[in-house]
């Protein structure tokens, strides 16, 4: 399970995250929804430990990421926002490199890489150098790289950026299969349909705090929008009115 408790982070004078708390149960897909600059990436970065919180805790299976980052990260698969890959390596070598850094070796590693290549539809370009890959191809490689060690928890920061319809559908399938296998998936997006189609739970954040949370249906009921998008706009509008 992933949990954040009263998480806060400021950059200079800007409070990016202010006392954020939510939970992502295992076997569910949690969507982090929010406008640009709401603090989605900052929250995820604190969860995978490249930023340390000013206060509060980010917990992976009860392990505080700031206290014990290496142990916490071991069960995490991470796709950061705008993740790049190594252009001089083939797709397969890119994935293999991360597998090796996770301590995987030999036949077990090769087999796992092959599974991901097939699962993500990378067969065509698996052994080509990554120079000149399309954004979609690069995202697939980055995703395979994040999943190579079969992590229990998966953090995806805007994973569908630049993916075409087919690739997006494939990614959805993959995320659902992760859920079916009991993984905990947390992903951020500002694409409404994406979140509505996929998420069991939605956490809407705005200006660094949780504005609303619940399932898509619950949110629609509470805020009375015909679609999730409408509800989302109402949530934000209500907050504007409050502020």
């Amino acid at each position: 399970m992933i949990a954040v408790e009263q998480l806060a982070k400021r950059f200079g004078g800007v409070e990016a995250v202010r006392g954020l708390s939510f939970e992502c149960p295992d076997g569910q897909i949690t969507g982090l929804l929010g406008p640009n600059g709401a603090g989605k990436s900052t929250t995820l970065r604190m969860l995978y430990g490249v930023l340390s919180p000013d206060s509060g805790r980010a917990l992976i299976d009860g392990i505080d990421v700031a206290q014990d980052p290496l142990v916490a990260r071991r069960s995490l698969g991470v796709l950061p926002h705008g993740a790049g890959i190594y252009p001089q390596l083939t797709a397969r070598e890119n994935v293999r490199y991360f597998g090796e850094l996770h301590g995987m070796r030999g036949a077990a590693l090769e087999a796992r890489v092959q599974v991901l290549v097939e699962q993500l539809g990378m067969t065509e370009f698996a052994d080509r150098r990554a120079t000149g890959f399309s954004q979609g191809q690069r995202t697939k490689v980055a995703l395979a790289r994040a999943l190579v060690h079969s992590p229990r928890h998966v953090l995806l920061d805007e994973p569908t950026n630049g993916l075409d319809v087919m690739a997006t559908r494939a990614l959805r399938e993959l995320i659902r299969s992760l859920r079916a296998a009991g993984h905990c998936v947390l992903f951020s997006s500002h694409v409404m349909q994406e979140v509505a189609a996929l998420c069991d739970r939605i956490v809407i954040i705005d200006h660094g705090v949780v504005a609303a949370e619940g399932s898509a249906a619950e949110l629609q009921e509470r805020f009375g929008g015909a679609t999730l998008e409408e509800s989302f706009v109402r949530v934000l509008g209500e907050r504007e009115g409050l502020a």
């Binding site: 970065r45 790049g84 390596l89 070598e93």
Partner: protein, 393 residues
């Protein structure tokens, strides 16, 4: 830790060796072209100085019949004489037409004045702005003076005066430089060049592995792995070290092969730059790769983009060469304190080797230890710097 280090090392090297442009600038431009350029220009300089020592100097003489004995003397001293008649005005025209022409004009009454023991007049015409004409005129002038002093001492002897009276002081030039140390003068620039080429061998890998990785967005996923960041950075430093060592080895091999073809012995120099020497120089220089690699990595951690890193690291590359430049101007000689200065100590070790006077073992030990100590300190610093949050940009 070792497995992480090796995994990173292998990946960085694989990437570098697949990037043809990087490879060309790291291992081809520096290690191959620099020594060839050096050796080429040395060869040219040597050939010219060898030529000028025994070249025959052409001299046109007007009024040649007035000074047969003098001309005979000049001929013996390697000056080839062409008699040609003309007035002083004609001579001025000849020189104006042919800038390289040197003309000796034997004035009327030369023989008579000589017999009478009065100053006999000669005129040497040459265009002083041309380097060849100047050199030739100098040779002629020098030989004329030698002839004049012969005549002078003969005259004194005829009058019963010892010619040594005319030499109140006799200066003996005692040249203490050995052939090898003279060669060092020419090869002095070598350690500077070796250091620079060695460091630039790792330049592109250092940039790519740090600023490049950040710019491509592959640094963040890398740093979110369950691996201590220090180990990743040390792996990158190690890869840079290997590239630098490779550039060094390649360059020394090229030097060993090309310096042998130089006619250094003909001007009394005997630097034997064979495989043994190349190996010794490699041993002297290679500890510095750690300082260089770590220094580049540290500086690269402050840059925001590949371009910025390129600019900064290009300048930083020159920092280790500064002590050498200062030492060259001040003509320092090795001491234990100086051997503790990395890059300067490598320079001194290499100069010792080239001079054929290797430095004592404790000096070598000081050099190796101080250099490795600084290298490890910088490597540790690089690791610390990559723990900062700001490293993600």
């Amino acid at each position: 830790m070792i497995t992480t280090l090796l995994t990173v090392l292998r990946k960085e090297l694989r990437e570098t060796f697949r990037d043809r442009r990087t490879l060309v600038s790291s291992l081809l431009m520096g290690p191959l072209l620099a020594p060839l350029l050096l050796v080429g220009s040395m060869q040219l300089a040597l050939e010219r100085s060898l030529d000028s020592a025994d070249e025959t100097v052409p001299l046109t003489v007007a009024g040649a019949e007035r000074a047969p004995a003098l001309l005979g003397f000049l001929r013996e001293r390697g000056i080839s004489i062409t008699p040609r008649e003309g007035t002083p005005e004609d001579i001025a025209q000849w020189v104006a037409k042919d800038k390289e022409l040197v003309v000796l004009e034997v004035r009327e009454g030369f023989g008579a004045a000589l017999l009478a023991g009065e100053p006999a007049r000669l005129a040497l015409h040459a265009d002083g702005s041309g380097s060849t004409a100047n050199r030739h005129a100098d040779r002629v002038r020098k030989n004329l003076q030698i002839w004049a002093s012969h005549i002078a001492s003969a005259r004194l002897q005829l009058r019963g005066v010892s010619s040594s009276l005319m030499q109140p002081v006799l200066i003996d030039d005692v040249d203490l430089s050995t052939p090898s140390s003279r060669a060092t003068l020419i090869l002095g620039v070598l350690s500077y060049m070796v250091l620079l080429v060695m460091l630039s061998g790792g330049l592109y890998l250092a940039i790519d592995a740090t600023a490049g990785e950040r710019e491509r967005g592959s640094l963040e996923p890398l740093l979110s792995l369950p691996v201590p960041r220090e180990h990743l950075i040390w792996g990158k430093v190690l890869a840079t070290v290997l590239m630098m060592a490779l550039a060094l080895a390649l360059m020394l091999a090229v030097l060993a092969a090309s310096l042998r073809r130089l006619p250094l012995e003909e001007i009394g120099m005997s630097v034997d730059f064979g495989p043994g020497m190349a190996l010794a120089v490699f041993g002297a220089m290679v500890p510095f790769t750690l300082v260089g690699a770590a220094l580049l990595t540290v500086v690269a951690s402050f840059t925001r983009s590949y371009k910025e890193a390129q600019t900064w690291l290009g300048m930083v590359l020159l920092v280790p060469t500064l002590p050498i430049a200062v030492a060259g101007v001040m003509e320092v000689s090795p001491s234990p304190a100086l051997m503790a200065v990395p890059s300067l100590s490598q320079h001194l070790l290499m100069q010792g080797l080239l001079r054929g006077e290797p430095l004592p073992a404790d000096y070598v030990a000081i050099s190796v230890c101080s250099t490795l100590a600084l290298g490890l300190l910088l490597t540790w610093t690089a690791g610390r710097l990559y723990r900062r949050e700001r490293i993600l940009g």
